[in-house]
Amino acid sequence: MKKNKLSLIILGVFIVSIIFLSLSLGAVKVNVKDIINIIYAKTLGTETTYSNLDSSIVYIIWNIRLPRIIVSLFIGGMLSIAGVTYQGILKNPMADPFVLGISSGAALGATIGIISKISFNILGLNFISLMAFAGALLVIFVVYNIARIKNEVPVTTLLLSGIAMSQFLTAILSILMMLNDRDLNKIFFWTMGSLSGKGWESIANIIPYTVLGFIILMYYSKDMDILLLGDESAKNLGVEADKIKKIILVTASILTAASVSVSGIIGFVGLIVPHIVRIFVGPKHSKLLPLSFITGGALMVVCDTIARSIIPQEIPVGIITAILGAPFFIYILKKKKAEVF
């Protein structure tokens, strides 16, 4: 118990330092004291506390960097717990939020949104995001029903139909990209993921999904443990396997769709974060879910900070997550695989 508390404190300190580091880094460097002043004044104090600071710095910290960091935390967290869920439900360590074709569905939806040039907002989401959201959910619905045999959804058919659907949609996406080379850059950025320009309204958009999704998954965390024993064993241990699998599959898919609709497709986080956390805390979901959320969030903040500050031009964050994540993951896998698999 003591060891657990200590690691939690270390993790907390680590996250806070990452956030401050990320706030201070970028095209304009801001020192930590000023950052604390700004946040303190904006949340509790009066505006006079930072009257000696340049108003553009206040704007950068409060209106640009802080919301972007919070969005990164949420997106990283959502993708990671969705990854935990897919790996658990599909009993397959290769599963991630995108393996069922969700990414391709979202990308195709977004691309149609971009080239159709329709623009309106519902609940703060623009048309492109809405199309991405709809594409993701539509695909998971179709894939699920292709794989379904009566009441059961065999894992192998689910994965295979997901992969087939994914290839099919990617092909259509490529045709659309070829035919619309004016929007190529925009589509490309979208398919690689970016958190550029995300403000407070994006946070408001994803908070309900994040909170609700997290609560639902945590509620079923014990059942998810037992489902790892296999459906039949789970049923014999009193778990309503069919019903619960459906609920958490839908929950994870909505989490994925919501994050994709805000940030585009950011790969790899949902795959590696659950594995990394599992190495340290084991496969019990009651620990795995919250710690994956925090770790995924932190990883995303780090990657996004690098994406926006390493060269003058912004790099799509999906590239950074893959470049950093893959070697780190391989290193961990080599060192500790015996305990996990």
Partner: protein, 414 residues
């Protein structure tokens, strides 16, 4: 006695092919039932139906109420299932796997219940000898250890009825017996009803109150081991030759698998064997399996050769133990000898009573006889050695120095 399980008109089919056909049976509280039958008989499917994990037709009543009326959690408080051990996709600690057995009771958050959870998990670990494995990773255990952990998980469920699905097939004979004895103790001491698919017929025969014998999805017989285990039932279902005998040592009906049924024609060579004291067992069985027309005698009852003859349904002329051969027996013997094409003398020792066999045989001058070599068979002051030596020099008598020669001679003689 209370009925814990009542099954009526149970049917299950896939794509209109019947897998389980019209199953009816009752199980009383505290019984130990073994389900046996060849591969593909529908044993596992039957258990899946009985635990309401498949869409069957018909009724399964658990404690007087249809099993479908129970919620999953309520059901899991009454029924537990021990599957064959398997590998998990992610590596849990042993203690966590066993604790999952307490899942049906998870909603009870009272102090008493939490204590109960702990005690029952602990008890399950002690019973299955897994306590010292509790901090190890499940996937790194051996097959036998995994099986014990999976069994512990079911025991932690603390149910009235426990199903086992060929749980011993991955175990060595030590651990096999360990698990079965554990289940048996649970059954006798705590009246837990046990329904187990058994791979090993002898284990089934030794521990069960009743055997449910399944073949082609139907019940062939549902009764005590003594009634179910007979040559007719088993050799047909398993399509092989076997021997069934009373195991006096452990007091149960033992099945000795012999060989797969071969399509060889019945031979019309009639062979009479003079044996006793177990010297005939191997020869009798071998000749029987080659489909010769075999008979034996005269032997005293209680001899192990007599038991082999009885379990193979071979005609055997026998006399009451320790007694002089009666006229009636001798008459039978003479008839048999006259009738037979070959008479075989095993390496049986001869004494006061069974020397009669040789004395009578001496008179059949033209009989084809094969004698198996034995230097120390005379326990009647040299009489048997004299007769054997007289026989040996006859033209129609062959003397075999070992079993290989013996069987070669049998084949050669027309």
């Amino acid at each position: 006695m209370d009925k814990i399980l009542k099954v009526r008109n149970l049917n299950y089919s896939v794509n209109k092919i019947d897998i389980i056909k019209d199953i009816n049976f009752d199980v009383l509280k505290g019984e130990f039932i073994s389900i046996i039958g060849p591969n593909g008989a529908g044993k596992t499917t039957l258990i899946k139906c009985l635990t309401d994990n498949l869409d069957y037709t018909g009724t399964v009543e658990l404690k007087g109420k249809s099993i479908k009326e129970y919620s999953k959690k309520e059901k899991a408080k009454i029924i537990s299932v021990v599957p064959q051990e398997y590998t998990l996709p992610f590596n849990f600690k042993v203690i966590d796997v066993i604790k999952m057995g307490r899942n049906p009771y998870r909603d009870n958050k009272g102090k008493e219940e939490i204590k109960n959870n702990k005690n029952l998990t602990y008890r399950a670990m002690v019973q299955t000898n897994t306590y010292n494995l509790r901090d190890r990773f499940y996937n790194s255990l051996s097959g036998g250890e995994k099986q014990r952990v999976v069994t512990a998980r079911a025991l932690a469920q603390d149910t009235d009825l426990i199903y086992l699905d060929e749980v011993t097939s991955s175990l060595d004979m030590h651990h096999e017996l360990e698990i079965v004895e554990l289940i048996y103790r649970l059954n006798r001491e705590e009246e837990t009803t046990v329904i187990s698919i058994m791979h090993d017929l002898n284990i089934a025969s030794r521990f069960s109150d009743k055997i449910l014998f399944l073949n082609n999805g139907k019940i062939v017989e549902y009764d005590t081991p003594e009634k179910v285990f007979n040559i007719k039932n088993l050799s047909k279902a398993y399509n092989m030759e076997m021997l069934i005998r009373e195991n006096k040592l452990l007091n149960y009906r033992e099945i000795v698998p012999l060989r797969i049924n071969r399509n060889i024609n019945k031979k019309d060579k009639k062979i009479h064997i003079i044996c006793g004291g177990g010297t005939g067992e191997y020869i009798i069985e071998k000749l029987f399996s080659e489909k010769y027309d075999v008979s034996c005698g005269i032997i005293h009852d209680g001899d192990s050769d007599v038991r082999v003859c009885e379990s193979l349904n071979i005609e055997c002329i026998k006399e009451k133990p320790f007694s002089e051969f009666s006229k009636k027996v001798i008459k039978n013997y003479n008839e048999k000898i006259r009738d037979s094409d070959i008479v075989l003398i095993t390496d049986v020792p001869f004494g006061k009573h069974n020397i009669t066999n040789l004395r009578l045989l001496k008179e059949y001058k033209n009989k084809k006889i094969i004698i198996l070599h034995n230097n120390n068979r005379d326990f009647i002051d040299g009489e048997s050695d004299r007769i054997i030596n007289d026989l040996k020099i006859r033209e129609n008598v062959l003397y075999a120095y070992n079993l290989k020669e013996l069987f070669e001679y049998i084949e050669e003689i027309d």
